[in-house]
């Protein structure tokens, strides 16, 4: 009796497992992203092809990624998660994971393996910085400058930001300590590998702020990624930091006299998280979509629309030309060897600990 029951149950399970793919999936999905060109690239590379394969699925977008952590926390408290898949930067993914708002996953189970059979876990490698984070792209925060406003010798290293004599004029920096503190210490003579050891100490934080203080009157502080491109285009600043994709569009798409300074670009990752507490059918749909949207070809496809590097090793050789401009994209990737000779990797662990503390000091310094 018991045996037959078990047998029946297990057959039912196998059948169900096969049928899940077809039947028990929700037919609508809300994806959350950043809006703008980036979201468009995701729509073109992932969502549209997926919708073609599954015409029954309706995909809607919500442009809320920059406040995703707060909104997910509020949704969780209200017990009503309306998002299915959320695009966040790695540090936010880590916080969502810490707060129990994002689902932990098993890379080899959830993600597709590379065409050559490399497991997803190996293919993504170190990019999986948190148990909840499904990596998608590598982007960098780097500096762009006006070629016509910086004089005869174009800047070649990051410390041009702090060099008011050689490059007089305004520069734009992000209104937060992350990246700025590292650059300040680096240009104050701290070796690259010691930056975070120094920044841990109160003296090191003061040192970085003192370095920033030397240019404080010449800085325009930005809080939205679109600010620096606008400031550069208007000639408000002669150089400024922003995301490399934004600079790409200023240079290549809008033809402004701007050039990139790849030196000491700070790598960061962006990817998906699945919110915890999704109902079965929606979870099944999301898993199906994620498997498709993070496979080798799809990640490479995205690079045709925006200059961010795919997070899979196996995708890099497949990166082709820009979908509209027809230029080769590989050389515009932050990960291209030409561009990546001197880089810094965003230190997630460090900033998770020191963010509150250093930010308080940074903002107090700014407000004075």
């Amino acid at each position: 009796m018991k045996l037959t029951k078990t047998l029946m149950a297990s057959t039912a399970l196998t059948v169900a497992a096969g049928a899940v793919a077809a039947q028990d999936m929700a037919d609508s999905m809300t994806l959350v992203s950043w809006g703008g060109a980036y979201q468009a690239s995701q729509d073109n590379a992932y969502a549209k092809p997926y919708a073609e394969m599954h015409p029954e699925v309706s995909i809607s977008w919500d442009e809320s990624s920059n406040e995703a952590v707060a909104k997910l926390r509020a949704m969780n408290e209200a017990g009503n998660i309306t998002w299915d898949l959320v695009d966040v930067v790695a540090s936010d993914a880590m916080r969502l994971c810490d707060e129990g708002l994002a689902m932990e996953y098993d890379p080899d189970e959830l993600l597709a393996e590379a065409p050559d059979g490399t497991s997803a876990e190996d293919d993504f490698g170190d990019m999986i910085v948190s148990d909840c984070f499904i990596p998608q792209i590598v982007y960098s925060t780097t500096v762009g400058y006006r070629t016509d406003l910086v004089g005869d010798t174009a800047p070649t290293d990051i410390c041009a930001i702090f060099d008011l004599e050689a490059y007089p004029g305004k520069r734009s920096l992000e209104k937060r300590p992350i990246n700025n503190m590292e650059w300040a210490l680096y240009c104050d003579g701290v070796a690259k590998e010691d930056i975070y050891d120094v920044l841990e100490t109160a003296e090191g934080q003061d040192q970085a702020l003192a370095k920033l203080d030397t240019i404080k009157d010449n800085v325009v502080w930005w809080s939205a990624g679109a600010d620096t491109p606008q400031l550069l285009a208007d000639g408000e600043v002669i150089m400024g930091s922003t995301y490399n994709g934004r600079l790409f569009s200023v240079i290549e798409e809008q033809d402004q006299p701007v050039a990139m300074l790849w030196d000491m670009q700070v790598f960061d990752l962006d990817g998906w998280i699945i919110p915890t507490g999704l109902p079965e059918d929606r979870l099944a749909r999301v898993k199906d979509f994620v498997k498709f949207a993070t496979d080798t070809q799809r990640l490479a496809d995205q690079a045709a629309y925006i200059s961010y590097g795919p997070a899979r090793q196996s995708s890099a050789p497949l990166v082709g030309q820009h979908a509209e401009l027809g230029i080769e994209m590989a050389q515009h990737m932050p990960t291209d060897p030409e561009n990546a000779s001197n880089t810094l990797l965003y230190n997630y662990e460090f900033w998770a600990d020191y963010r509150d503390d250093i930010d308080a000091k940074f903002q107090a310094w700014l407000a004075q």
Partner: protein, 563 residues
């Protein structure tokens, strides 16, 4: 009504006599139906009040549910602090008797081990780490590491017990040892029936808690978690390693030779193993040190102790640049003080914006109310047009106007008023914020002013003039006083709106033109320190209420007219 106790005592039906009569009978005045008049009156009034209440009930409920309740809930977060004592119940209890000097006793480490183990299973330890990181930098990663690292302690014992007897890593033998036999029978029956309905909740067998106190406690915690939170069948789940740690502690400190219940031989063998010199042990202190040396320093323990009460003044202190320390309340280090500055700046700039709005809005409202209807309407549209345009568009337009390569600077340079290399800085500072916000809030000033001014009869002004007043006297003594309610209403609107504004200062404020609301927004959406955001918001609300009260005392709120 005249008093009825006077000395005149005429007989006859005078009103006084009637009153006297009523008092003499000493009963209450009666209504037509015989009930006391007072009672019947109040009943009628109550009925009326109820009817009125019923009519406004939908609105009242709506406001309560969608407005008052969320605000109250949000403000409550500014003092709420249950997370520490709920996540670390044993630890906070142990630390309660600790004086805060030097290192806490080893019992605190033991308690912290069990607490963090359970918290890690529930994935709550990192949340607590985030909370404590607001007070002590480094707590976030300390707890994240500890959630994983502390498993090592228990695994030492788990492995040894398992090597001795595999039953120590099985669900059923454990349940036989720890569980009440009747409960176990029920549970097995529940499984046989296909696991339908509610899983019978675990009960400890009698006496186990006396012989194995820690194991009983930890096993009960495990059972509750498995049954109530994971909703798994307890018969399928082998206990986690904290239970093995507890078992080791009980066996090494107590005597189990008297135990003769189910699985007695298994327990005796384990006791013999623990007693043997080969048995490997890890002290909790070493285990914690292995995970992170910060556990060996007093600050983390002091912070946990300091924040173990369910309610804290910490967020409020933080929002006025103070902090809670083991030695009492102290000012924050000078290089972290920011909120008092921002509060002052917010109030100052809001006042400047309000006055600029009055100065600019008054003439416009005056002209509007004195023009013929047709041209007034046209002007009105000009006032309202920017009001209907998106806030972001208007703010960005100011950027184009005010920036150094912007329209105004270009014009000034072209005229020759300003040299090309010394263009004026008019944005990303206080000036930019005041200009942009004055523009944005101007309609809120003009509209109430206009509606008040258009009700001022022109005949008053004519009368004043015909009585010989000069234009100025007419305006100042006759017209202006009548327009004050409009100024009052506009000022309150503009001031209260600007005190909580945040988008415009964020875009054009730079560093010196930002408001306290920008920090509140930052803590809500970016740093996720909702407690601090709530405290800042509560203070802002209190300031507004105090100012409103002061306004009422000085100007009088009856003098405000919106239309």
């Amino acid at each position: 009504m005249s008093d009825a106790t006077g000395p005149d005592t005429f007989d006859g039906p005078t009103p006084d006599n009637a009153l006297r009569q009523a008092q003499k009978t000493s009963g209450p005045m009666l209504a037509a139906d015989g009930t006391p008049l007072k009672k019947s009156l109040s009943r009628a009034l109550r009925r009326q009040k109820m009817r009125a209440l019923m009519l406004i009930a939908p609105l009242l409920l709506f406001v309560l549910i969608t407005f008052i309740a969320p605000i109250a809930d949000m403000l409550f977060r500014s003092v709420e602090n249950q997370i520490v004592s709920e996540t670390l119940p044993l630890t906070t209890e142990e630390l309660g008797s600790w004086d805060g000097e030097g290192m806490p006793p080893e019992a605190a480490f033991e308690a912290a081990y069990y607490d963090i183990f359970l918290a890690a299973e529930r994935k709550e330890h990192t949340r607590l780490g985030t909370r404590l990181n607001y007070e002590l930098t480094g707590a976030s990663s300390l707890f994240r590491k500890s959630g994983r690292g502390l498993d090592d302690i228990g695994e030492v014992y788990q492995d040894q017990f398992e090597d001795l007897d595999e039953n120590w890593d099985e669900a059923l033998p454990w349940l036989e040892l720890m569980g009440d036999p009747e409960w176990l029978a029920e549970q097995q029956e529940w499984v046989a029936e296909g696991e339908e309905g509610r899983q019978p909740s675990f009960e400890l067998s009698e006496g186990t808690a006396d012989i194995l106190p820690r194991t009983a406690r930890e096993f009960a915690v495990f059972a509750e978690y498995t049954q109530d939170e994971e909703r798994d069948n307890l018969l399928d789940e082998e206990p986690w390693s904290a239970v093995h740690t507890a078992l080791y502690q009980d066996l090494s400190s107590g005597d189990v030779s008297s135990y003769s219940g189910p699985r007695a031989d298994m327990l005796q063998a384990a006791a013999a193993l623990v007693a043997s010199p080969d048995f490997e042990t890890v002290s909790f202190l070493d285990g914690f040190e292995e995970v992170d040396e910060d556990w060996m320093e007093p600050p983390i323990w002091r912070t946990i102790k300091l924040y173990s009460p369910n309610y804290t003044s910490g967020y409020f202190l933080n929002s006025i640049d103070m902090q809670l320390t083991p030695d009492g309340i102290e000012a924050r280090p000078e290089n972290q003080q920011i909120y008092m500055l921002l509060f002052q700046r917010t109030l100052f700039m809001s006042l400047v914006i309000t006055f600029s709005c009055i100065l600019l809005g008054y003439p416009v409202a005056y002209i509007l109310s004195n023009l013929p209807m047709r041209s007034a309407n046209l002007l009105m549209i000009l006032v309202l047009l920017p009001f209907w345009t998106s806030l972001l568009v208007r703010t960005s337009a100011w950027k184009v106007m005010l920036q150094q390569q912007g329209v105004i600077n270009d014009v000034l340079v072209w005229i020759g008023l300003v040299a090309d290399d010394s263009r004026l800085t008019m944005i990303n500072n206080q000036f930019g914020t005041i200009v942009a916000m004055t523009h944005i809030l101007l309609p809120f000033m003009i509209l109430p002013m206009y509606s008040v001014m258009s009700t001022i009869p022109p005949s008053y002004v004519r009368a004043a003039k015909s009585l010989g007043a000069t234009n100025w006297t007419t305006f100042w003594r006759v017209y202006f006083p009548q327009s004050i309610p409009g100024i009052g209403a506009g000022s309150i609107l503009v001031f209260i709106l600007s005190i909580g504004y945040y988008i415009t200062p964020e875009i054009v404020g730079g560093t010196t033109g930002t408001f306290i609301s920008n920090r509140i927004a930052y803590h809500i959406s970016s740093s996720l320190n909702w407690g601090l955001a709530a405290a800042l918001g509560a203070i802002l609300l209190a300031v507004v209420l105090i100012l409103y009260w002061a306004y009422d005392r000085i100007v009088g709120i009856d003098n405000v007219k919106l239309g």
